[in-house]
């Protein structure tokens, strides 16, 4: 039985950890809005612990599969949809590191938490860059990729690179700000930001091309539209954490002064947040006026794509609220936090139902 599980344990399972991990940050941010929400900080710790359990549990079959069933792994890597989910596991390391950075001090104290989050950072960086190169190479050389294969899950590799600087600057925020590790974290973060940002634009254009000049993907890929929220939302998170890192470095980080960049960052972050919000509405329109209307929205594991991008948008909302339109955005944060919990609950129940019908052992290609 265990061998069968390992054989069928596809790369997409990291998405379930991602969708749970980000909730610890949405809870932490919501807890800061007002006194009645303080308990959410501890619910966030609960989500952090659940994420850790899921990560450790999923990592075993995910890793073993590379050694026990390399042919299955190769087949998945070449798959135009499933292949893009390989970076989800290294993304989980970055998210676990971010959770450890924010909530770990409550469990282990600052010293241990900040060191552990750095270990997660480097594990995530190595995995993301390896899969990034592998996937682009595979896409470039694969003669079987056609226009109709383009879908928003192609955003996952750029997103994986964009998420690296989030933990990079979170780590520079306090503990590592004045150490020799700070320039290393900064350079890795900036390289990843450049790779993620430009790949997001290139890949986005390819997918846009398909959506306009070809039919839109079938219902089981409908949730991937939500992934479009993530890139700009993550850039917003990065920008606000970056400004906090500059502030923590006594107002000047590598010659970048807080006073000179705070205003432009507020403008850029607000505009990018606006794009994510627009995309959220667009996703809802596509979902309800097309997929639900034509009854083409089957229960799939891919429903996890509804969780993380929306949660990233909630985190972006909470962080942006610390800079602009605080009252409006904090109100929105609470409403959105309730929404993401509802979505997460629905997806967890949906996944159990999906497993119950034996879909795990019959992967669709």
């Amino acid at each position: 039985m265990f061998k069968k599980i390992v054989k069928n344990f596809g790369p997409e399972w990291g998405a379930a950890v991602m969708g749970t991990a980000a909730l610890c940050i949405t809870m932490q941010l919501s807890s800061e809005v007002a006194r009645p929400f303080s308990f959410l900080l501890y619910v966030g710790v609960g989500f952090y612990l659940l994420t850790t359990i899921m990560l450790l549990t999923f990592l075993i079959p995910w890793t073993l599969r590379f050694f026990m069933y390399p042919e299955e792994v190769k087949k998945d890597l070449k798959h135009p949809v499933r292949g893009n989910f390989f970076p989800t596991m290294p993304i989980c390391f970055i998210l676990a590191g971010t959770g450890t950075n924010k909530l770990g001090p409550m469990l282990f104290g600052p010293w241990f938490a900040y060191h552990l989050s750095i270990v997660f950072f480097f594990l995530g960086v190595v995995g993301i860059f390896i899969f990034g190169f592998l996937l682009v190479r595979t896409q470039f050389l694969n003669k079987e990729v056609h226009l109709e294969h383009a879908n928003f899950s192609w955003f996952i590799p750029p997103v994986s690179h964009l998420i690296i600087p989030v933990l990079g600057v979170c780590s520079m925020d306090v503990y590592w700000a004045e150490t020799s590790l700070a320039p290393v974290l900064f350079m890795i973060s900036m390289i990843a930001l450049g790779v993620g940002l430009l790949n997001f634009l290139f890949v986005g254009a390819a997918i846009w091309h398909r959506y306009i000049y070809h039919t839109i993907p079938q219902g089981r890929l409908a949730p991937t539209v939500m992934v479009g929220i993530a890139p700009t939302a993550i850039i917003v998170i990065f920008l606000i954490k970056f400004i906090q890192a500059i502030e923590a470095s006594h107002g000047n980080l590598f010659g970048i002064s807080f006073m000179s960049v705070f205003s432009p960052i507020k403008i850029v972050a607000s505009a990018l947040w606006g794009f994510s919000f627009w995309w959220l509405i667009l996703s809802a329109i596509l979902l309800f006026t097309h997929y639900v209307k034509v009854k083409d929205h089957p229960l799939e594991f891919g429903w996890w794509a509804y969780t993380f991008p929306l949660e990233a948008f909630v985190v972006a909302t909470g962080l942006l609220a610390a800079c602009v339109a605080s009252h409006f955005l904090y109100g929105m944060l609470i409403v959105l936090n309730i929404l993401v919990v509802i979505v997460w609950l629905a997806v967890v129940f949906g996944t159990i139902k999906w497993l119950e019908r034996g879909a795990f052992f019959k992967p669709q290609h």
Binding site: S38, F39, Y42, G46, L49, H250, G251, F258, A322, S326
Partner: protein
């Protein structure tokens, strides 16, 4: 869905909330003991510093003991700053704080610890902490901000830079005298504005 599946799903979704409720009750009750005592409050003896119509007061706790759930307790230096706007117009504040120990070792404020102890500080001092990076203070209004620093071992003197004004930094000096912390001087230090 089968009953077994519903139970599995319920267990998964309830784990974070049950853990959260237990932790919240443990932390907000007295189950996890944390020692707290503030020794300085400049509001009591009118020792705050006024510059350009903004009065800066502070409350200081030199040995706030915070106990992580799985590790032993550690002490933190906790400051609560109170900014009063005595001008006739709104003021936008973007303060930043630096702790400097002997040997010019500089430390940033620990946002995480400040976040965990926020409720307790607010209850103790009957205040509301500001969350945003930047906040507006209308005329004749007070805003409060909690700052926590990790405490280096065998500390006998230090200063804290409060970077709240464009042209000067408020520097608060503390040293240990007969085992007690004393705020022996405060100064407004001019900021360097060159290109080098």
């Amino acid at each position: 869905m089968k009953i077994r599946s519903i139970i599995i799903a319920l267990v998964i979704v309830l784990i974070p909330f049950i853990i959260g409720i237990f932790l919240f009750m443990g932390k907000s009750g007295k189950a996890i003991d944390e020692k707290v005592h503030f020794i300085t409050d400049t509001r009591k003896n009118n020792k705050g510093v006024t510059y350009k119509g903004i009065k800066t007061d502070w409350t200081f706790c030199p040995d706030w003991e915070y106990k992580p759930l799985l590790f032993k307790a550690e002490e933190y230096l906790v400051f609560v700053f109170h900014y009063t706007n005595n001008t006739d117009y709104d003021v936008q504040l973007m303060p930043s704080y630096t702790f400097v120990s002997p040997g010019n070792r500089r430390y940033s404020a620990n946002e995480e610890i400040a976040m965990y102890i926020e409720d307790k500080v607010e209850n103790e001092l009957k205040i509301n902490d500001e969350t945003p990076i930047t906040y507006k203070i209308p005329p004749n209004t007070i805003k409060h901000y909690i700052v926590a620093f990790e405490k280096p071992h065998s500390l006998n003197d230090f200063y804290v830079d409060v970077d709240v004004f464009r042209d000067v930094t408020l520097r608060l000096h503390y040293k240990k005298e007969n085992g007690n912390w004393s705020n022996y001087s405060n100064e407004l230090v001019k900021k360097y504005k060159g290109r080098g």
